[in-house]
């Protein structure tokens, strides 16, 4: 009986570790995707104060990436612009940001956040449910162990962002209701 209990405990610990690893890997892929978005999106000239200004990837709410996003962008550049990672707890804290990941916990009611960011040239990304339909620009969808993308090009256009057709090609394009 004792042996059975020990075996069950070991199995539970292994399962928990495996789950944690999968979760970490998923966050890592999302971090890489966030970084890669910078290559497939063009910002309006007025959003770029100078050609050397860092391209800021922001995280609103709890940070699911740990140090991985910082490690991913370290030493990388988009043209002559280096990357920088900023973390925000409130929308009001966001000063200058180019790509904003809105954590699921913060994006339970994304409409309010998106309304505050309206018309600002910020690429909004989240894994919250129906994020693209609700006015967000890009949603990460986890499907059978893969991460797919949903993109709302209308929202991006409203913020004067140009999304490359190459990015649209690999994503599911979402048209908001009523359009």
């Amino acid at each position: 009986m004792a042996l059975l209990k020990i075996t069950a405990a070991v199995l539970l610990v292994c399962a928990a570790r495996l789950g944690a690893q999968t979760k970490a890997s998923e966050a890592q892929v999302k971090a890489v995707f966030l970084f890669n978005f910078a290559q497939f999106v063009d910002w309006p000239p007025e959003a770029v104060p100078d050609s050397q200004a860092p391209l800021v990837i922001g995280i609103l709410g709890e940070d699911p990436f740990g140090d991985f996003l910082d490690a991913t962008v370290r030493g990388e550049r988009r043209g002559s612009r280096p990357f920088a990672v900023r973390r925000y707890q409130r929308v009001d804290d966001i000063t200058r940001c180019d790509i904003l990941f809105i954590n699921r916990s913060a994006a339970d009611a994304p409409e309010e956040i998106l309304a505050r960011l309206k018309n600002r040239p910020i690429l909004t990304v989240s894994d919250a449910d129906r994020f693209a339909e609700r006015g967000g620009m890009i949603r990460f969808v986890t499907d059978r162990g893969r991460i797919r993308l949903q993109i709302n090009p209308v929202s991006a256009e409203a913020a004067h962002l140009t999304i490359s057709s190459k990015l649209l090609r690999v994503a599911e394009v979402i048209t908001p209701p009523g359009r």
């Binding site: 993308l149 090609r169 690999v170």
Partner: protein, 197 residues
Amino acid sequence: MALRDWPIKQKLTAMLVLISGLVLLLTSAAFAGYQYWSLRSATRDALAVRGRIIAANSTASLAFANVADAREILSALRVDRHVVAAVLYDKGGRVFAGYPAGVAGDVVPAEPGPDGYRFERGLLVGFQPVEEAGSQRLGTLYLASDLGAISDTFRLSGVRGRSRSPFWRWPRPPRPCPPARTTPCGRPSSAPTSWAP
């Protein structure tokens, strides 16, 4: 009659015919050589152009780990019957997607080689970087083409005979002949069945 007993007129005629024949042979050889090297260069340039186009279209597939899209892009190579294999490697050098789809019995390099196009063991092969303009490298494209385009042109120009021709034949390039380290290319080893991008 021995050569020394030929009349001088006949000797001169024979010399002229011999020299003319020799000149003709040398000129033909030079022309064929020039044409062969020009065709090799043109074939390499044409494959490099195709490689650049495929690579430019594959950036998002690699950046966002979309194997289906990568396969679709590679499948456009079916219009070129001389392309025998094409492979996209991810940033880590793992096979991401391959062409043709049913190439399971065939082989491709296990990892990317140095960038550039070259003739190797009867094939024209090339490794093309896949990168979005001004950004970091996303992966590598491998293309392998047979040399059928060259032999076809020679055949059309009459330099290389067909099977019934009594003339000299240009050596036919062998079918896919991979570099040393190879791996089956049926299913990509880094297909995102896991989280790996």
